[in-house]
Subunit: 384 residues, 2 copies
């Protein structure tokens, strides 16, 4: 039995998408840069994927660039813009709760002499808009704010933030990490005055190794990966055609039933939260309200170490996370919640359930049954 | 009918490898960084691939890092080393006939204040060893020389070059672009004193979007893509597990029959060269001798424009290249041969045939028959 509640870490590729990927590898194997028909055929697949993604984001296909994943997309959006615009200023703003791929890039820019301000967030991770206005300066060239946080699921009001940003300084550019948002909630970067919006394939049942970034037309970007001038010189290297076919298929699937999926997942999350009410030791970090993504439920089991609970659940075929997978192999692992002012025990006992419309109420029933058995046991054991 | 002589641009994924990739996407879909079993299973696939590739290169598995392809691998090898070692000196050496992903990186480093010397090559592209010795200085931190050139197929004697390099300056590091060599000829980077050796999946019937680089243990490398600390912080981002499964499978296949494949391809190349003897207008740029890879045959059809011939062949279902696919969508396209002192006409009429053991004598017969029809016609037409 496999019950998978770790969809924010990665997802299973849908069989029909895996098949399409397989087909492209065997049949449309040309190099998109080749001048002959096999090259053109491969290029057509890229064009189609750009159309699919741009339609969903309400941008134009020429504003979509493919990367090797969300991490590269975020790196490129931030590093590419900061480096290209540094003559206009070297001040940057981000939040203290960004994904590692954003955080690390800002830290690198700081090392390179850029000044980085961190906007205040409340104890749910919501950005303090007044603080943002205070922080924006004449020389602020770039602001990065993630759309849906991967650990607690807080949704930022990107529309409002974009407005505030451009009203305060029209030349400040806006990068958004949309990796946990794309395909799950409404994502309209251009309408919301976002200049760069990063997405990933493997969070929406596409394959690993493929991501994309919307870069608003006219925005300068210094490329990171250079060489054969592919993708208008923004990102060189033979395009990952099978990956692109995969993110195309995955996008088509999720957008077809985005609203329906959201409702399904909302019911699942709500059902689990209700079931958790009987546990005295449980703190819900991301309740089922409009502020949080229904796809993510962050819970603290006070008195239990998250990792111990994770492995106990794993024994029963239930897969969860103690935080984001990207940082889970580091000692800093569950440190995220401490940024939001949670107690040591709440931080240590953090578990992230992340859902998908393929999850069922029956799976939640199994989870709750298992939790009822192991949580009291672990509490007794860990108190000794 | 499809006759594909463009294997240096890219290859068809072997159906059994496509199936393995497909399987990994649907079954072993965990995030390798996840702490639970599904994560571990994915991580095991990465470990296996590192073992396969390192065994072929005679290096240790911990010296292999995965990238999004050959371009990123070359970028990382050069940029990562040059940046990490710049305190020791800012002088670099490369050749004038490197792949765009190497060339562009050296040009970028030059912009950043590094000094780049270009070692002389003869009219086949072979590096002048005496000139290399002359160029190496106390502050030379890095030398890049490609193993097998992608346009003309010249094979550099990496073993000799490594020896010369380390004898002249033991602290100069050596990066080699092995993308057209790996899986085709013997590649022993560690034995040959190479510090970084880049390879690619889609040149050996693996998928696009995956590459790898051997980085010798102890060599410092400044990462390009940063975030979740994957791959010992050398290359962050969720690993492209399906791609890694693909390059693993492809490596296993090619190494099993490398010698046999080489012989097959040698016979094919030799057969085509013999068939081309009757064309007065043909100049063979990479004859069938030990200096050149048997996988690549560069030919100039004097008096014909390569692109016109490419499309005429395409009409008959025969796919070739006018140069590397990576630069073919640029006007500089066939400029490569002019570096090697070829005449304007030889440059303009350049066609690259690149082979594979799946190619047959019958395909060469068809090609020759078609060439006998269209070459005289194109010569008449273009002279008008």
């Amino acid at each position: 039995m496999t019950i998978y509640f770790d969809h924010a870490a990665t997802t299973k590729v849908m069989p029909e998408i895996a098949e399409a990927i397989c087909n492209s590898m065997v049949n449309d194997y040309g190099n998109p840069s080749s001048l002959h028909r096999l090259g053109m055929n491969a290029e057509k697949l890229i064009t189609t994927a750009k159309q699919t993604i741009s339609a969903q984001l309400r941008v134009t296909p020429s504003e979509i660039y493919f990367t090797s994943g969300g991490t590269e997309a975020n790196n490129l959006g931030i590093m590419g813009i900061a480096t290209a615009y540094q003559r206009n200023g070297r001040h940057l703003i981000t939040t203290p709760i960004e994904h590692a791929s954003v955080k690390a890039t800002y830290e690198l820019l700081e090392e390179q002499g850029f000044e980085v301000s961190y906007v205040k967030v409340d104890d749910n991770g919501l950005v303090d808009q007044a603080d943002l206005v205070r922080l924006i300066r004449k020389d602020t060239i770039l602001v990065s704010i993630m759309h849906v946080n991967n650990e607690i699921g807080i949704i930022q009001n990107i529309e409002d933030l974009g407005k505030i940003l451009k009203q305060t300084n029209p030349s400040t550019l806006f990068h958004v990490d949309g990796i946990q948002a794309f395909g799950k909630i409404v994502t309209l970067p251009k309408k919301w005055l976002v200049d760069a919006y990063a997405i990933s394939g493997h969070k929406i049942h596409g394959p690993k190794g493929i991501g994309a970034i919307y870069i608003r037309k006219g925005i300068l970007i210094k490329p990171m990966i250079i060489g054969g001038h592919q993708q208008k010189d923004v990102r060189s290297g033979t395009e990952n055609v099978p990956g692109i076919v995969g993110i195309d298929g995955a996008t088509k699937c999720v957008i077809m039933s985005m609203v329906e999926n959201y409702k399904k997942v909302e019911a699942i999350k709500s059902y689990l939260i209700k079931g958790l009410e009987c546990f005295d030791s449980v703190r819900i970090n991301s309740p089922n309200d409009h502020r949080f993504s229904t796809y993510i439920l962050s819970v603290s089991f006070v008195g239990i170490r998250g990792e111990v609970l994770l492995h106990a659940l794993e024994e029963q075929g239930i897969y969860v996370s103690t935080g984001s997978a990207c940082s889970s192999n580091k000692s800093k692992a569950a440190g995220f919640l401490s940024v939001l002012g949670r107690t040591k025990e709440e931080v240590a006992g953090n578990i992230r359930f992340s859902f998908d419309p393929t999850n069922t109420f029956e799976e939640i029933d199994v989870l709750l049954k298992v939790l009822k058995e192991i949580v009291p046991m672990l509490l007794r054991y860990q108190r000794k």
